[in-house]
Amino acid sequence: MIKKLFAIIEKDVRQLVHSKSSALIILISPIVLMILAGLALSSSGLSGVKIGVYAENTLAKADAGTILPVLDAKMAEKGFSVQYFSALDACRQAVKDETTHICVEVAEKEDKNLANIDSRLMYKVNFYVDYSKVRLVWAIVNAIRTIVAEENTKISTEITTKLSGKIDFAVNEITKNQGKLDEIIRKGEGIRNTFSTGIRTLNEIESYITEAMTISGSVIETSDSITTNLDSLLSYSSDAKRRLSDLSRLNPALASSISAIQGNLDSIDSFANNIAIVNNGLEEKARRLDSRLDEISMNQNNVASALRNAEPLLDDLLDSLREVKSGIDKLEREFAWAHNIKATDIMNPIPVEVLPLSGEVTEIGSVSSALTYLDYLLPALVILVIMFVATLISSTMVIKERKSVAYFRNLIAPTNSALYVVGVYLIGLILVGMQATLLVMVASFFFGVVISSYLSIALVLLLTISIFVLLGVIIGYLFNSEETTMMGAISLALVCLLFSALIIPLETMPGIMRAVAQFSPFVIAETALRKIMIFGIPIINRGAGTIMMEPVKLAVIAAVLFAGALVLQHFKNKKEI
């Protein structure tokens, strides 16, 4: 059995060796492929790209203060070939004619006032792109966007720095004037207190006035009473004098006494008259006092009323002042928040930096312990090569064998037909394994790709090659001509490629397609190889007690495909005999 199997393998190898071009392509193709991939990835890829530029305002180009001279310099720095157009249509037509790859329009904004802030704010940049070249467009747009973004950031930083300076100035001015406002409020409150005191004093004065007026009223009343009493006294005195006269006439003896009495009465009258005069003066003064008190009372009332009226106004004024103060305090606090913030913090509040998970990305070809882009791409590249080569080689081998004139002799030989499937599988494994090894070796020795965990890589590659070789075997047995087999193999590889993350990110695919893609051997193998090659994750982690599931899935798929290939071969052989 083993001898027969070796004979089948030897036969295929010898056929291959005798066909020198086939042998050569198997050995040379991975080396050439790897060298091409390595060289391709070592280039930035966009030098030599032609950029058409149209500036609406020709001054925009000449004016050193505008964005265009800066863009021009940076595009030249990136190695872009810049071509200026005098009309937008010509610029856009050049993209259609493929004389340029993109048209960049530097147009003026409608708001001319922006020029007062910064002359560079007057312009906006529009891209005109040919979306049929999606990847190129995005690469160029990203590159130019980066250039524009750099200038945008620069302008924004400058303006933000200015703005920040103005805020600092405002904060200082507010801080400075806050004390003055405090003093005004304090004085206002003093005035308010004085007002209150004045009103209180006026109220006291009013009571005093009232009291004085009462007293003056009493004085007048008393004076009136004195006047009345004096009048009565004089009347009594006059009456007494008359009576004394009568008495004297009647009794002249008494005349001297009566005369003395009459003289006394005259003195009393005179005294009463003097008192009356004094009393009248007192009354007049009391009345004048009363009158003045009325005036004082009236004025006091006026003043009190004025003060009372002024009091709420003063309160309002104070309230307003306090509100202003509170507002300024808030402003100060708010500005204090903005105070000392750096322009860069405002421009780029959340700094984003894309960092590799393993090592530092460097240029291709630089021999360094850090990982290169090729390191990151190598897993996908290796699986891609395996997928295409394995499916094509095995399907071609099967269909060639089936269509071979010698096939019939194989069928009638007393050999288990499964051996032929095993033979094709093993020869595919050897050839594609050789290619994959060459690919990895070239990547490692010529481009400095870091390779470790050889055993794990070998295991994943073995399973991956097995799957794609067996898929090729199945295709080889499914189709009945070399042309359709080739198409089938290429179609299958293309489907796998489409359902991988190489062309479209899996995450952006619709749900069902994403679910299907999860079962794609390409995706599984690439994931496993990436984990091992880039992140150094072991297949079996004894420490953590975990096992990588991808190789298990690959093994299951390979087993299913092997069984499928055997069943299919059995039925096809039966049909072909």
């Binding site: 070796f6 005798h18 009638i412 030989a413 007393p414």
Partner: protein, 313 residues
Amino acid sequence: METLIEIKNVTKTFENKKVLNDISFTINKGEIFGIIGQSGAGKTVFLKALIGFYKPDSGDILFEGKSVFKHQKDILKTIGFASQRHSIYPDLSLKENLKYFGRLYGMKSKDIKESTKKVLELVELTDYTHKLAGKLSGGMQRRLDIACALVHSPKILILDEPEAGLDPVLRKHIAELIQKIRNEGTTIILSSHFMNEIEPLCDRVAMLKQGTLAAYGSPIELLAKYADNYEIVIRSYPGNYANIVAWLKKSGLAIIDSRVESNRLLIYVPQKASPDAYVEYVVKSLKPIKETLMGIQLNQLSLDILFERIAVK
């Protein structure tokens, strides 16, 4: 002779069409046995049934008393098969082809080496041992194909239309080779749809007609049984053969059939008359119609014609 293969009432149906219908005959050890039939007569199906790849609906095929369908693997070891397409790998040398097929038959390296030498000598390709098979001429490839079928020293060699597509010289070489192989003691079964090609080779033939066995036996037996005519081949100038046939019929010659082939007139007459009398009569008859006789030949009816009459018509 000892019976090697016994075909017993073999019937095989494909898509409701009987491609083999109750076929029964035997093949003896050491003989060259021909299977003849038109395209679609069932030859290839029969040969594939013979090696056990088509199991019949009924009947059996016994190799030395063992059913090929029950002991296929063992019986296949004793059979060599050369199909009408050269079952060889053009990108392998002659030696590599023989080595590969020898291995498939489970031979040891030493045996393969000896057998390779022997069969290459047999097919006269020793000088080309290391040459790629694809670089050989058509005749050489046919011989290599036969060598590949013989490398494991089979008891039985099956040749499916071995002379198809070969020029007369190569056919002769192949015929000689077949004889040589038979002389080595190998039983040979060969198929063809040209009776004249296998007639000189075969000890016995089986004629298939639409899946049925139309005739079976040695050429002599068949001719004795079925052939009762002579064939007169005439070449004359100017060669107005239709006129000749009409004149001969008018002259009273009992012509069964006639045809023109390769600028020659073939006339079939009953075997009962004396052959010389026929020749004399024809020679005399040509003069009045101004035909100059260039050549005349009298043949007893070949199996080819017999085949045409039995298996074709």
